[in-house]
Symmetry: C2
Subunit: 418 residues, 2 copies
């Protein structure tokens, strides 16, 4: 009962804060963000101490090395977080922007103005930097945020929140604009996901399992991204050198992320020439290839791909490779096995570039560049709160604008409807 | 089991159709819409016959007169439906529109292109005209549609669908782009709402009860609109004549719709003058007033408003009236009791007009005009598929663009990420 009450109160307080926050000027929001950056820097000793307690507990419970890396704060991480806050302060405020306005025949002026969504709940793993990052983006876009990080990072997150809230107390921004759920019970998340009256949007950030669990329980709309099975299609007319560079970059520059290449499709007319070229470089980079029968005929000493490989998000130095008949077969493969994330065609053929761009309806469709550009910063959104692979509200990398909605504003001079 | 299979098949077929439909040109879609208009006109005798069977059954089961009116087709209704199809054909196609495009420092050209959502499920009451209307808007926006009207209209809906599908068979558009669920069992709706893999969006159109039932069951995102508790705030500086005209129009021009006025807020400084003026006209129009204590002191012979009246969507000739201290009290009342639908301020004060427009975050905010303009046609969207009072994806009246999403398109020339 305590948790129930507590989470309900957090959600109500957030909703109250959101109403006030919607009216706060950009100048005030930026001032708060810059002071938060200073606050983190000034309190770095305290933050490192609290974080080290989390790290000790996490080691005891035996979490993986990768998770421990993400959990551990260093002086440099704190500097990065402060830098991130300053970058968000420098971004344009989306709120109040009138994205279009037109006059109706009866003289009414009708416009669409960006407003905050209200209250956003962020559910994420034990990564204290996400606490700062998400809080900053929500604040800048006028949304109150409820943060729920992984239980291993609870002390770090509460320490960070105390610094951010201390800054808010010195401004006109309500302190409940940024709240961290102070308990680690799973029940708390379940409660939170029922608060549809107070929370407008849930963004889960983490693995597929976490996201599926959130979706299954939530009464609140969820913007989700299950996985990224990204494709590169090397067309018959592709510049071979460019194709090799892009495949290598897309697969190996950072294999553990969602916009990394997972399945390579190669036009049959160039498979004999292209596959040995790319396989040679991939092998040097430590990539294991799992190929279709035709690929095996060309590359010989590789593993055979099973049906499951075409659905796989390896997040690792493994690549599925398939030789396809033509662009139609490539598009059909992407439609069947893809995850609506990011697909790239490498081609020198004008018509095929246009067909790929128009016919593939993944959230990001690329011609002659790496899938790794599917990222809020790389696309010029200035920030990234997540990547959506469902089509409602936002599709693809989400920046500040995707944390807003629009209302209609109407200027009249006495019009009535006849 | 039969239903389970059947609904699943309908959803799968719709998803297949949606992929093809996304690539159909505007010319082909318009040709189909115009032929559908002819088809309805040519088959009007058959449509009226099938509809009359529905009407006979509905009378036996004793549905209300209002529902019977909505169910009954006449020659003129069929002409209206055909006209509606021609109007949708004349609207610009939103698909393929690049809403913005920019160059990144590395030379990548990045754009956002409108694409269909995919498959849309529409759940509505026994109104055969909605079958045509919704099918047309979904087709034009490149979405496959699954239509589920009230059980009383099943024969009418199947007859309409047969006409529309016959046209599709003569075009390159897949026939499963428009499907009517052929059974009236409630189970069928429940099944449909679980098909999140195939259906992208559910739009329920009807009363609050229907919408709540859909939301409670659906695994698919729902764009919803529970109710419209619309407010007019008559400020101290309001032009009295304009204020009377707007209140009368907003309350009485069509009291049964969601953008009709339900609560009138009056600034205390003009209540003594304004309330008798407007009450006189409202009374002549048959409106019953339920007022706060201060209103009762001025108007005397009216009913006293209870707390529930401030939350009420009467959809009838009843009006709640409250005298408020100032614009802050008006905005606070709207925040507490409003439904995020439509609010209007009547004022000659510049600062208050701006405050109201900026601080009230309902889906439509109006200065000096009737709330009745909150409508897709009146706002110039060209069509209306519904009105959303939740903020995700769409907020306010929804036209064709709200049935789309955007994908990122990237033109590169070999860029890789460093």
């Amino acid at each position: 009962m305590y948790i129930n009450k507590s989470i309900q109160q957090i959600a109500q307080d957030a909703a109250m804060a959101a109403r006030k926050l919607a009216r706060i000027t950009e100048i005030e929001k930026n001032k708060a963000l810059l002071r938060m950056a200073e606050g983190l820097e000034r309190n770095s000793a305290m933050l490192l101490t609290e974080n080290s307690k989390d790290v000790v507990n996490a080691k005891k419970s035996g979490i993986s090395k990768a998770m421990l890396d993400r959990l551990t704060l260093k002086q440099s991480t704190i500097e990065q977080m402060a830098k991130g806050l300053r970058e968000v302060a420098a971004l344009p405020d989306p709120i109040g922007k009138v994205i279009s306005m037109w006059r109706r025949p009866n003289g009414l002026m009708v416009g669409k103005m960006r407003i905050p969504l209200g209250v956003i709940g962020i559910i994420y793993e034990s990564r204290p930097n996400v606490t700062v990052d998400a809080a900053a983006l929500c604040l800048k876009s006028g949304n109150a945020v409820i943060l729920r990080g992984g239980s291993e990072s609870i002390k770090s997150n509460l320490a960070i929140a105390s610094v951010l809230q201390k800054v808010l107390r010195e401004t006109s921004i309500p302190v409940n604009a940024i709240q961290v759920i102070p308990v680690t019970d799973r029940e708390a998340v379940s409660e939170m996901l029922q608060m549809e009256e107070h929370i407008d949007l849930i963004i889960p950030r983490g693995g597929e399992e976490l996201i599926r669990a959130v979706v299954a329980q939530s009464k609140i709309p969820v913007i989700k991204h299950y996985k990224g099975v990204c494709h590169v299609f090397v067309d018959a007319s592709a510049n071979m050198e460019m194709a090799v560079d892009i495949c290598l970059n897309a697969k190996t520059q950072r294999p553990g992320v969602c916009n990394a290449l997972e399945t390579l499709l190669v036009h049959k007319d160039v498979a004999g020439k292209f596959l040995p070229l790319v396989a040679n470089k991939l092998k040097k980079a430590g990539v294991v290839i799992r190929g279709c029968e035709k690929t095996k005929l060309i590359l010989k000493k590789i593993e055979k791909a099973a049906e499951a490989d075409w659905y796989a998000e390896y997040l690792d130095l493994i690549l599925a490779v398939k030789v396809v008949e033509d662009i139609d077969a490539a598009i059909a493969h992407i439609e069947k096995y893809g995850s609506l994330h990011t697909e790239s065609i490498i081609t020198d053929d004008y018509a095929n570039s246009q067909r790929f761009l128009n016919e593939v309806n993944s959230s990001t469709v690329v011609v002659n560049a790496s899938t790794r550009f599917s990222d809020g910063f790389e696309l010029g959104l200035g920030a990234e709160i997540g990547i959506s692979t469902t089509k409602l509200h936002a599709f693809g990398p989400m920046g500040l604008e995707e944390l807003t909605t629009t209302k209609f504003i109407i200027y009249g001079n006495g019009q009535v409807r006849t």
